[in-house]
């Protein structure tokens, strides 16, 4: 079942055409990634899906409600984690969640229990009475994720959930995202400009200059650019080359005493090869295409993480994001 279905979404800011006709269908329970470089229009698209920003054109449904006519219903049924923090730093973690519980009309008798549950989930229960201004970037992010889940949304939107966090914390945030999906079965829609993170998604839409230029599973996208390359080390490397030719009809080559062969899918090729191979093998290595290769192929450019642009700097740079 589709939980997000939009067609022809457009948005322009004066001379910048930020989103140029986006069509999207996202299904229940999937982790859907929106991948694109800075300025591609990810935040603008997510803002329109979340009813924060009014589209110039297009139509659609989010969480089962009309994006134009049933804004409040959409809002009640989605959880949001923005690119820039939106916590009240002068309140405690608990108070931030309490505030959220009230503005989302969570019944009084359920508030406490739910707040404690999400706090435990993101491992912030012990810090619940500390002011948010004493939290690290990763803790704030976790608190925002907890807050986004408090009102039991059908879809959780995360705009660049790991930007500006150290690699360890990034991994940790991803663990939470997978845990939420597993435990709650909710749909997760996220944006990222990190190629490696996009691999975590069930499906990815690649967006560039306001247009979706590809939409598929990470594996299919990568197959688009080319095959896997398998490297085999063996004392009898020279014998393996004709064997592969005979059994699989693949042109293997001998490079520096190493067998190099291009195959469609290394995962199925290697076991099949090893099963019947009459020679010993010392090691096998695989090189798979990355999403960088995909982006390069699609746009002729490399996706780059321009420093400064995407870092969560406090204060002034944030203003541009919000009206």
């Amino acid at each position: 079942m589709a939980v997000i279905e939009v067609t022809g979404l457009t948005k322009r800011f004066k001379e910048v055409e930020a989103v140029k006709g986006v069509d999207l269908t996202v299904y229940e329970g999937e982790v859907f990634g929106f991948l694109g470089p800075n300025g591609a229009g990810k935040t603008t698209t997510i803002s329109m899906l979340c009813t924060i920003l009014k589209p110039d054109g297009g139509q659609g449904h989010v969480a089962g409600y009309n994006l134009w006519r049933e804004k409040d219903k959409v809002r009640q049924n989605i959880g949001l984690v923005f690119q820039d923090p939106t916590l009240d730093r002068n309140l405690t973690a608990y108070e931030n969640l309490w505030f959220h519980a009230l503005i989302y009309s969570i019944p009084a008798r359920e508030r406490r229990e739910r707040i404690e549950m999400v706090l435990k989930m993101v491992e912030l229960y012990e810090r619940k009475d500390n002011l948010v201004q004493t939290f690290s970037g990763g803790m704030k992010r976790r608190l925002e994720i907890a807050r986004g889940l408090l009102h039991h949304p059908k879809i959780l939107f995360l705009d660049e959930p790991t930007v500006g966090l150290d690699p360890q914390t990034r991994v940790h945030i991803w663990e939470y995202i997978h845990k939420i999906r597993k435990e709650k079965g909710i749909t997760i829609f996220l944006t990222t400009h990190y190629m490696d993170e996009a691999e975590n998604c069930d499906r990815i839409a690649v967006i560039d200059q306001g247009k979706i230029i590809a939409l598929d599973t990470p594996d299919n996208l990568k197959q688009m650019v080319g095959n896997n390359i398998v490297y085999i080390n063996s004392p009898e490397a020279a014998g393996i080359v004709p064997f592969i030719k005979e059994k699989f009809n693949f042109e293997a080559k001998l490079v520096k005493n190493q067998v190099v062969v291009e195959v469609k899918e290394a995962e199925t090729f290697i076991p099949a090869l090893l099963q019947d191979l009459p020679f010993p093998v010392t090691s096998v290595a695989i090189k798979k295409p990355t999403l960088d290769d995909v982006f390069l192929k699609l746009t002729g450019r490399e996706i780059r993480d321009e420093l400064g642009e995407n870092h969560r700097t406090p204060g002034f740079s944030r203003r541009r994001r919000w009206r």
Partner: protein, 246 residues
Amino acid sequence: MAALWAIFYRELIRYWREKIRIITSLVQPAIWLFVMGGGMGAAFNGPGDVSYRTFIFPGIVGMTVLFSAIFSSISIVWDREFGFLKEVLVSPASRESIVLGKALGGATTAVIQGMIILIFAPAVGINLTFSMVVKAFVTMYFIALTMAAFGIVIAARMQSMQGFQFVTNFIVMPLFFLSGAIYPLKGIPGWLAALAAINPLAYGIDLLKHVFLPYHEYSLTTDIAVMAGFCVLFLFLGILLFKKDG
């Protein structure tokens, strides 16, 4: 209703966490009352046979309420800057409850500030009675709510704190100086009188004069009617501006 309460209560929590602000905001009124009040006293020959210090007391109470109500509403701009406003605006909370919660919260903290100023009353020659305190409380709430709503209208479209200086210089100070807080409005030049006549604060402070002084500018009914009009107008405008935001 729950949303209104959340927004209201958050104002109170934040007020309470900034105890320093509570203390420092008493300094300015004290300076007005005792330094200005003392210094100008000899030159003042105002109405109602009261000393200058006594005369400005309602005005200084009104000023305290005005400043804290407007500035608590202007904190919307900070909330925008630090992102928190987004959390509120993308929620399903009705725009009415957002604006009313903010206005009532700001008004309540402003009234607390105003009530604290009442401790100076005996020192300026006003003997507080219980009924005076009750009337002052109600009047202050009225002024505070109107001014907090006015602050929301200003803050609704303000994008940066640069506008803050502008608001102070071109809105808050003129409101105060043209309110009859520090000089009587009778007999001022025509253009000043015209400006004072459209100044909501002038009517609010006049209500406080009704409470504390044997002197006032307008009738009680005029004061209440005009203030009520402005109060409703500002609240309505505030809600309208937030609704347009989506």
